[in-house]
Amino acid sequence: MSLGLALVAILIVAGATWWLGYARARRLRIAGRLHSLPVYHGTYAALWAAIPALLLIAAWAPVQSRMVDQAVLSSPEGRTLPAFAMSRDSILSEAREIAHGEREHGFNAESTALAPRIRAAETRYAMIGGAVALAIALAGAGLALRRSAPQFRARRGVERWLMAVLLSASLIAILTTLGILLSLMFESLRFFELVPPGKFIFGTEWSPQMAIRADQAGSSGAFGSVPLFWGTFFIGAIIAMIVAVPLGLMSAIYLTQYAHPRVRAWLKPILEILAGVPTVVYGYFAALTVAPAVRDFGIAIGVSSASSESALAAGLVMGIMIIPFISSMADDSIAAVPQAMRDGSLAMGATKSETIRKVLLPAALPGVIGGVLLAVSRAIGETMIVVMAAGLAANLTVNPFGSVTTVTTQIVQLLTGDQEFDSAKTLAAFALGLVLFLITLVLNLIALHVVRKYREQYE
């Protein structure tokens, strides 16, 4: 018996319980007036049959796999296995695959011998877990069915279960945030044990090469993150915003103030397509078409050091990607400006553009700034464009034709090689991720605060 079988059995028990509860309540209805509909009686009993038992199985599954491993390792065949954890684990996982019939025979001879042991241990523990879960299901069903009576408030019971589900669904958001913070912090702390935080935050040299041997020349890698954050800031907050803010703002102004409604109905979705194009497509476009063009342009105007992985190419494409984002934020904040202000300005004889420049924009400025901050936070977290179009060399340069690297590029670089998980190199990715997360968090919170406060002002 496997846990899957127990799962099916529990569901069958729950189904039968539902029907029993339903039928019982219908019989009761003939006798007198029910508090709840028969459906609720059935559902109430079925929920008590299913949920505790399912929770038990969910909790049992990881326990079981650990106990199976232990049982197998203490068996006569298991004791002969190498003590080295990595080779032992690979043999074990092979044996597991053989036991489940996913492969015929293993690469290691030992695994074939282990397979029957694993199968036996799994059957034993699944039997225990499955039997207990089934007993709980039957007990829950019995207790719940006994409670059914005309005055029993089955609906309230069902609704309480439902409420618990709703609440736990919304708690997942908090759990995710906590999970991000904790996992990033945990790995970052391990990184800061190897590299002092001061050197990481203020260091200006980045070359994350850890030596294989301790006595090798240049054995300590440099983990100064300043050039990475400069590169991120340079591409995402300067070049991309120089492109996106004027274009996005002017597009929003044109679409909301000047364009005919029918033109607007066509142009706005087209602009939104820009936001829907996957970033990997932008990245490929930037690397294949924009970057060579930018390099040729740089050489043509006399920048001899123009790189084919220039900051300008990545920033330009990123800026284009951000346009619809800024445009829709600006759109919202311009629309939130009270009509009276607009009418007042026009009544004084100002032209439309004067009204927009001198009245609407200043009034909408907090909202626009909030939108730009959100856009910056999105741009510095953007990964694929910079991975494909920006460089890998960590330079502190203000030359837009030069090559800079970014935080996200380095995270991808650090985590996609073949190295052990515990090296400073991979842990550095988590430290970078933590700082990136905190920066975007602060930017988002400020932006949301600004936008909300400004909305309240006009409401």
């Binding site: 669904a169 597009s251 820009l274 829907g276 970033t279 990997v280 497509v281 439309k352 004067e354 991720g433």
Partner: protein, 404 residues
């Protein structure tokens, strides 16, 4: 006075033109992007095939038509030296320069042809086989001198034709660009999105219902709202780091599996669904709730029997848009190891797989020239799917969404 007015009107016109040109630049860029991808990628859907006369008696295939009629035909042909037979026939017909005229795709085509028609191996036959990648590029855009020479010789003999490359849609990743296809990646994407959908949709809808209909105003609710709004703006790569640390290193789920990718993307998509769901629920007028409460429904019944069905079109629209975003996402999946070379389509959610955007990224890194048009062709496939999903969302919105 008149002069001043004139200059003010000129400024007005300039401003308006500036706005129009801003929109124009964006639209032009989009058109340029789509045009570039189409121009580069449409060639990826076709391939050049060359006629190859094969005298099976001269090859060392030693295949017997009788054994090829059984169910193991594919295995039997696979065991024979198809590649050598092709190379030999090619040199016989087109000279020694044609030794490497055909690649892996041709081996696959010939194998399939023999399985379909076993009698072929007892005589001579002329088969159309896809060219090797470098010759395919040479035939389409021109390549090195040797390749072009061979191509023009084939053209002169009328032994060259261009056909729709069905293999591109039905094959998986390969090392030879002439043999690659997107099917494996598409299947991986599909499985991943299914996992994402199954997890993110119920959780997102339940969370939206709770926050909009039941949540008391207190600190906990504020914390939930702030974390949802913030999660919607957290960079996607951070979710990848979370997936790597929690799902792979703590829970030991299999690397590069659609299950892990789907879980990671579900965490990323959930806030989007919650926000869309809340807006949709908010737009259901209170009179509906009041009427249902008035005839004796409980709060839960009001929500699930009346409010939620009315809000569903809006929720679905938001969900589809969120799913489209998840479908195009690359960075978090790189973090959880979905960048391995995987030549077989995945059989389940725990089998190693890759997804379409990651496949595009991997191909874009290849140096072989044959991969350029394959990458762009894969991008066209991806964009078509995005267009389909967004079109569905717009249709749902226009068809079912009610303005109260």
């Amino acid at each position: 006075m008149k002069k001043r007015l004139r200059s003010r009107y000129a400024a007005e016109r300039r401003f308006r033109l500036l706005g129009l040109s801003a929109v124009g630049v964006s639209v032009l860029f989009l058109a340029f992007l789509l045009f570039t991808m189409a121009a580069k990628g449409l060639g990826g859907f076709t391939r050049y095939e060359a006629a190859l006369p094969i005298d099976f008696a001269k090859t060392d295939l030693f295949l017997d038509p009788a054994t090829l009629r059984g169910p193991d035909a594919e295995q039997a042909v696979g065991g024979a030296d198809i590649e050598g037979a092709i190379a030999r026939s090619a040199t016989d017909s087109y000279g020694p320069a044609a030794k490497e005229m055909f690649g892996d795709a041709a081996v696959r085509s010939l194998t399939r042809a023999i399985v379909r028609n076993p009698d072929m191996v007892s005589g001579t036959a002329t088969v159309w086989l896809p060219l090797a990648s470098n010759l395919d590029v040479a035939a389409k855009h021109g390549g090195d001198a040797k390749g072009e020479q061979l191509v023009s010789r084939l053209r002169a003999k009328q032994a060259l034709r261009s056909r729709f490359n069905l293999d591109f849609l039905s094959a998986s990743d390969a090392t030879d660009p002439s043999a690659v296809g997107v099917w494996g990646a598409l299947k991986g994407s599909f499985l991943t999105i299914m996992v994402t959908m199954l997890l993110a949709f119920p959780v997102g809808v339940f969370a939206a219902v709770y926050l909009e209909e039941f949540a008391p105003r207190n600190r906990w609710t504020d914390a939930i709202e702030v974390s949802i709004n913030n999660l919607a703006a957290v960079p996607s790569i951070i979710f990848g780091l979370l997936g790597l640390a929690v799902f792979l290193n703590v829970m030991h789920l299999p690397r590069s599996a659609p299950l892990v990718g789907g879980l990671t993307l579900a965490l990323m998509t959930m806030p989007v669904i919650v926000i869309a769901g809340r807006n949709a629920i908010k737009s259901v007028p209170p009179s509906i709730r009041d009427a249902a409460l008035g005839v004796g429904a409980s709060k839960m019944q009001v929500t699930f029997h009346h409010v939620l069905p009315l809000a569903l079109p809006g929720i679905l629209t938001g969900t589809i848009i969120g799913m489209a975003r998840a479908l195009g996402e690359t960075a978090p999946l790189l973090m959880i190891g979905m960048r391995a070379f995987i030549a077989a389509p995945p059989n389940g959610v725990t089998a190693p797989a890759t997804v379409l955007p990651v496949q595009i990224f991997l191909w874009s890194d290849e140096v072989d020239r044959g991969f350029v048009e394959k990458t762009s062709a894969a991008i066209i496939v991806l964009l078509l799917f995005m267009l389909l999903m967004n079109g569905l969302a717009i249709y749902l919105r226009n068809r079912f969404e009610r303005r109260w």
